[in-house]
């Protein structure tokens, strides 16, 4: 039996097409992926992300524990700030990628991938067993107590304060959620419930994620729909979430990231603080950074009209003595650009932006080129 989010009945009423996503029954689309994608790029979209996991780490030893378990430097976070980070194995393989927020001096909230909640929890338990100060902190999996929604798009800042009224009571103190800066999180009160609002997302647009007790999720969804409707807000499914993140070159666990790939190979070295002292995976990641890796994750765009690239397709070099050099891990038709785009792991020698490639699709090779991420950039505002 698939797990259901607190918004399941609302998705049904909206006649969403539901799919199995990591053991959860989730809306892949409501009216159409392209329409929902463009709503997020042009005005606003609302996503149910209640399947994602929430884990809390608290206590005087929490900072030290997490800084050793995660790749980014958690000591850089002031109260009310968050960062993208990774959970790695000793050999550098990625257990999960996640967002961690410092919600109090000695308290952290981690937002993890739905499909990795159990793997993360098991791995963190092993880290707890290895921690020198295991009495100094407490780790809690609160995934079943919380749901979350993401409201994303250039118009969102104009209506978020109408839906989530008033100033924050904790974390980053602001007079309204729209005053949060990127990666800041505030604790707000919504209809008596304590909720977190963070200015972050997975679409490349401005926007917020609201994390709240499951009972508050449906009222928050309705409040956002009501406040956002005049601005063009539309419910958006996981299909649009995937095309939006692919245009930005953001990784998705299970595609760009697995236990067999490292953050260095994935092009995420920026989120690995090799200079912060020891942490799990550091030896391997330090060596990879110094000596280089044999393959790299790249973003690419099809050169001409072609079928959309898909995960698993073979990547060939474009030179006359063409050889297979890698494999596509994410691919789709870009709704914003109108061409096929994707991400692939290719041999490092062939991983430079501008490199011509060919993607093998049903036995034929179609030209493509590596391009720096993001593949989509917001058009400059007209004066």
């Amino acid at each position: 039996m698939l797990k259901r989010t607190p918004l399941h009945d609302l998705h049904r009423q909206l006649e969403a097409r539901m799919v199995d996503f990591g053991g959860w029954e989730m809306p892949v689309q409501y009216t159409g992926i392209v329409q929902e994608h463009l709503a997020v790029r042009q005005s606003a979209g609302l996503f149910d992300i209640s399947h994602m996991g929430e884990m809390l780490v608290s206590g005087p030893g929490a900072t030290e524990f997490l800084n050793h378990a995660l790749t980014n430097d958690i000591r850089k976070l002031a109260i009310g700030q968050g960062q993208y980070t990774l959970l790695c194995q000793e050999h550098g393989g990625v257990v999960d990628d996640l967002y961690v927020y410092r919600i109090d001096t000695d308290e952290f909230l981690m937002i993890v991938n739905a499909s990795r909640i159990e793997a993360d929890w098991d791995w963190l338990q092993i880290r707890v067993d290895h921690a020198p100060t295991r009495d100094g902190f407490r780790l809690r999996n609160a995934s079943s107590e919380y749901g979350a929604v993401a409201v994303q798009g250039p118009a969102v800042a104009q209506f978020i304060d109408t839906a989530i009224e008033g100033g924050s009571m904790g974390c980053t103190l602001v007079p309204g959620a729209s005053a949060l800066k990127k990666n800041e999180i505030g604790a707000f009160v919504f209809q008596g419930a304590s909720v977190y609002v963070a200015r972050t997302g997975y679409t490349g647009e401005d926007g917020f994620e609201v994390v709240a007790p499951t009972a508050a999720i449906a009222p928050i969804w309705r409040a956002l729909i009501e406040a956002g409707a005049p601005f063009g807000l539309k419910p958006a499914g996981l299909g649009a979430r995937d095309t939006l993140r692919t245009e930005m070159g953001y990784p998705l666990y299970g595609h760009e990231l697995t236990e067999a790939t490292t953050p260095i190979e994935a092009g995420l070295a920026f989120f690995v603080a090799l200079d912060k002292g020891d942490f799990v995976g550091r030896d391997v990641l330090l060596r990879q950074k110094a000596e280089g890796v044999s393959r790299r994750c790249v973003t690419f765009r099809m050169a001409d009209k072609s079928p959309p690239p898909r995960p698993g397709y073979i990547v060939w070099s474009a030179d006359p003595a063409a050889a297979p050099i890698g494999k596509v891990v994410s691919g789709t038709q870009s709704p914003s650009l109108g061409v096929g785009i994707g991400m692939a792991y290719v041999a490092t020698a062939m991983a430079q932006p501008g490199t011509a490639l060919a993607i093998e699709i049903r036995g034929r090779r179609f030209p493509a080129a590596i391009e720096k991420k993001p593949l989509y950039r917001r058009p400059a505002a007209r004066p």
């Binding site: 159409g32 992926i33 095309t243 079928p307 898909r310 789709t332 709704p335």
Partner: protein
């Protein structure tokens, strides 16, 4: 409710057939285009190719997935629709008209007896639920 014109025949795999003599025009049903949504690429067979009933002979791709289109009848491909490969959205907006895929000269018209009429196709959709 999807549109199912009464003058066409249908395959269980959601292609439609318009038979005029031994020439069959083929496309995908309104139900199929609705299920696929946002069709972004259509790959058609080469003119002159001989295909057998049930053979995958075209590919239709949505944002999310690629799906095979099967030949409802055997024969030789005599014409393909350049408009639908140039503008794949036609398969969404006009699946029984300008969104047609290809035409074949049917080898054995008896095969048409295995196709569904509109009522049978409607029941088939009901069973798929």
């Amino acid at each position: 409710m999807s549109s199912i014109p009464a003058d066409l025949k249908y395959a269980q795999s959601h292609e439609w057939v318009r038979l005029q003599g031994d020439i069959a025009t083929i496309g995908i049903s309104d139900h199929a285009q609705h299920e696929l949504t946002d069709i972004v690429f259509v790959e058609l067979p080469a003119v002159g190719r001989r295909i057998q009933a049930g053979e995958p002979c075209a590919v239709v791709e949505s944002v999310k997935t690629a799906s095979d289109v099967y030949a409802p009848l055997g024969g030789e491909v005599i014409e393909v629709n350049p408009n639908v490969s140039g503008n794949p959205g036609l398969a969404n907006t006009d699946p029984y008209g300008s969104g047609w895929f290809f035409k074949i000269k049917v080898t054995n018209l008896d095969e048409a007896g295995a196709l569904l009429d509109a009522d049978a196709y409607r029941r088939h959709l009901g069973q798929e639920g």
